[in-house]
């Protein structure tokens, strides 16, 4: 079945993640989860790292999930998924599963469970080549515990553990490039997406879910509370991330880079910063240099990405 038909069928049927959960108004996570799971056209098992998604969807004795769902701890979702994937292979070999159809194993983890505490288990699982899809819903800080800075928090953002103040402009370091780290594992499919670009995300999920080996999707996901924007502005804020080149949309298929969306022309970085309270302290005359520094970083990262894409483009 075509991807769009699958999406429509799933969106009109029983949702893998149903309503009644307690994620915040305007939170991008359910949008990501539903787009991912509705795109996959076969039975799916979800492995979830500790975080907003887990806490807000499974308060015992209730659950918002209608697909098999497994949570063990914060840092080990990729290792748990490794075990599920190996179990599937072993059980299939001895014909101990009810259906011959391969079950997709999908991990959802936040940026803490991916970039930071979950990095080792993720790296191991990518290196071992398990057939699974790891989806990072990257909202750029530890939102579940109250907006603490993570390795994904952008330079100069104010969080509760990197607050802006008289002697501080927020986080002093740059975010790590987790997508590039995943690419460095030589896995068949890696992509960067944004919750609001659902068509692009869905297309990437289709490629990821059919890859012969591990696939990694890094999906920028808004957090109205942590980013400091009104819930109704989620789409506008995420679009700004993409349109300012702060969060380029691209994919790396078998090592080959390709941009999947090019904003023409790109907007200045202020369009992204200005929508969020976590950057409000930057938009003053005395912090003008910091904004210029962020714009320089964004431009340099973009140029580097474009160079990688051109290097991979067919000759002539």
């Amino acid at each position: 079945m075509s991807r769009l038909k699958t999406l429509v069928r799933h969106q009109n049927g029983v949702q893998p993640l149903r309503g009644g959960h307690s994620l915040c108004q305007g939170c991008g996570i359910p949008m990501v989860v539903r787009t991912v799971l509705s795109t996959i056209d076969r039975p799916t098992v979800v492995v979830n790292a500790t975080g907003c998604l887990e806490v807000a969807t499974t308060r015992y004795p209730t659950t918002a999930w209608t697909v098999p769902w497994l949570h063990v701890a914060f840092e080990n979702a990729a290792a748990v998924a490794s075990g599920v994937e190996c179990a599937q292979r072993a059980l299939r070999r001895r014909h101990a599963l009810p259906s011959e159809e391969e079950v997709a194993v999908v991990v959802f983890a936040g940026d803490g469970g991916t970039y930071d505490i979950g990095l080792q288990a993720l790296s191991g699982a990518l290196e071992r080549g398990h057939r699974f899809l790891f989806v990072c819903y990257d909202n750029e800080a530890y939102m579940n515990t109250g907006i603490q800075r993570s390795g994904a928090t952008p330079f100069a953002a104010s969080t509760t553990t990197s607050p802006a103040g008289l002697e501080s402009f927020g986080k002093a370091q740059r975010r790590k490039d987790m997508t590039a780290i995943a690419v460095a594992h030589h896995v068949p499919y890696v992509a960067q997406a944004a919750a609001v670009h659902w068509h692009d995300l869905s297309r990437k999920v289709e490629l990821a879910a059919t890859a012969d080996g591990p696939a990694f999707l890094n999906v920028l996901t808004d957090c109205p509370l942590g980013w400091g924007h009104e819930p109704r502005l989620s789409a506008r804020v995420l679009n700004a991330a993409v349109n300012t080149l702060f969060w380029p949309l691209y994919e790396v298929l078998d090592g080959g880079y390709r941009l999947t969306y090019i904003p023409e022309p790109p907007e200045p970085i202020e369009s992204w910063l200005g929508l969020q309270a976590r950057f409000a302290h930057l938009l003053t005359d005395e912090n003008r240099a910091l904004v210029e520094e962020i714009q320089r970083q964004v431009n340099a990262d973009w140029d580097e990405l474009v160079a990688r894409c051109s290097a991979d483009a067919p000759a002539g």
């Binding site: 098992v45 308060r59 697909v67 769902w69 080990n76 290792a79 075990g83 072993a90 599963l97 288990a121």
Partner: protein, 383 residues
């Protein structure tokens, strides 16, 4: 069958080959490494058929084991010391999620200082995790308990991780004659692993590992506690069948020469063997001594132990782990068990970091001439 000359580690690897689990996540650490190496070779030679998952840490080994066991695959692994310490977080969760994983634990001292030799501080670190812990005295017992372990772990009343504890080096690396069972007998004894709620059963989706608040968390923990207690009954229930198969019988304890004994040493693991030898000598010399070996440390068979020690004048507990600032773990267990009985209770810490316990030390202990910390230099320790 002719006995084979095997180390404890090799014997456990043979038990794993015969059980033929579906998934075995492995990560190397001394002194358990011979177990996973031996098993990996069996897989490489087609004599076992597991998915061997070479994970990047013990934390991931136990995490993968949980995923695999709950997905419906029979799952085994092995670790020691720091490896168990690193995976401790997930050992608790494995027990809480009722994942019937069998794990060999090559007992080794915890750092620091770093050390690779035997003591039981690793086992004691996860004492309260809700896993079953069975202690072997020698390579034969390590093998036998590994064969018994899946039946305990996978019993519907239990569904818990079961650890087979074998003293690092003393058992893992010492070659002894070991009587293996026939491959077919082990396969028939352990049967096929079936789990009621398999994650991979997509037709019956379940949410496993949910968030439980004060309104439900306590009930989860209480049920877990009952399951550990049930493991004792399941182990008892297996004794006859295993004895028919092997000629060897396992209970939660082994009482050795308790008849008419006045002084009894209580110990775990290989030390029980040393004490048995000394007991034999002392009995020859006319002394009324015996030894009570604890096989099942968790669940702890309190009623049985209380009954066996009811008429003993002096109970001497040997702990191969310390609890700085408090009673050592086995001594504390015995104190609780014997509370209200007339027995005098003595406790000694011995053998930390692989320090040998010699027969002469055991004699000193029986004679009540040994200090609380046995065979340590510089006692009494300067404050």
């Amino acid at each position: 069958m002719t006995p084979l000359l095997l180390t404890g580690g090799e014997a456990v690897a043979h038990a794993m080959r015969q059980i033929d689990p579906d998934v075995v996540p492995v990560y190397p650490i001394t002194p358990q490494t011979p177990i996973i190496q031996g098993f990996a070779k069996f897989v490489a030679d087609g004599r076992a058929h597991a998915e061997l998952v070479n994970v990047e840490s013990e934390h991931s080994a136990m995490s993968a084991a949980i995923g695999s066991a709950l997905a419906g695959a029979r799952t085994m692994t092995a670790t020691s010391s720091q490896g168990l310490a690193l995976m401790a977080e997930v050992v608790y969760i494995a027990a809480s999620m009722r994942a019937p994983i069998v794990m060999a634990l090559g007992n080794r001292a915890l750092s620091g200082p770093i050390n690779i030799h035997c003591d039981h501080s690793d086992s004691m670190l996860i004492r309260d995790s809700g896993v079953v812990q069975l202690f072997a005295e020698n390579a034969q017992e390590a093998y036998d308990l590994t064969v018994l372990a899946p039946r305990v772990a996978e019993h519907p009343d239990v569904l818990l991780p079961v650890l087979v504890c074998l003293d690092g080096f003393t058992i893992t690396h010492s070659a002894e004659p070991v009587q293996l069972l026939a491959d077919g007998d082990v396969a028939a004894f352990v049967g096929t692993y079936t789990l009621a709620h398999r994650v991979l059963d997509v037709a019956h989706p379940a949410t496993q590992g949910p968030f439980a608040m004060p309104d439900y968390y306590y009930e989860f923990r209480r049920q877990q506690s009952a399951a550990v207690e049930a493991a004792g009954r399941v182990l008892d229930g297996l004794a006859d069948g295993f004895e028919r198969l092997s000629g060897r019988r396992y209970g939660p304890v082994e009482a050795y020469r308790l008849d008419g004994a006045e002084r009894v040493i209580v110990a775990l693991g290989s030390t029980a063997g040393t004490v048995k030898d000394v007991v034999d000598e002392l009995r020859e010399e006319g002394e009324a001594v015996g030894v009570l070996k604890i096989v099942s440390y968790r669940p702890f068979p309190s009623e049985l132990v209380r009954g066996l020690l009811a008429d003993i004048a002096s109970v001497i507990v040997l702990d191969r782990a310390d609890s700085p600032g408090g009673a050592a773990p086995l001594q504390a267990e015995l104190a609780a068990t014997l509370y209200g009985s007339a027995a005098e209770l003595h406790g000694h810490v011995y053998g930390l970091g692989g320090r040998d316990l010699h027969p002469r030390d055991v004699r000193e202990i029986f004679a009540q001439h040994a200090p609380r910390y046995v065979s340590v230099r510089g006692e009494p320790c300067p404050v």
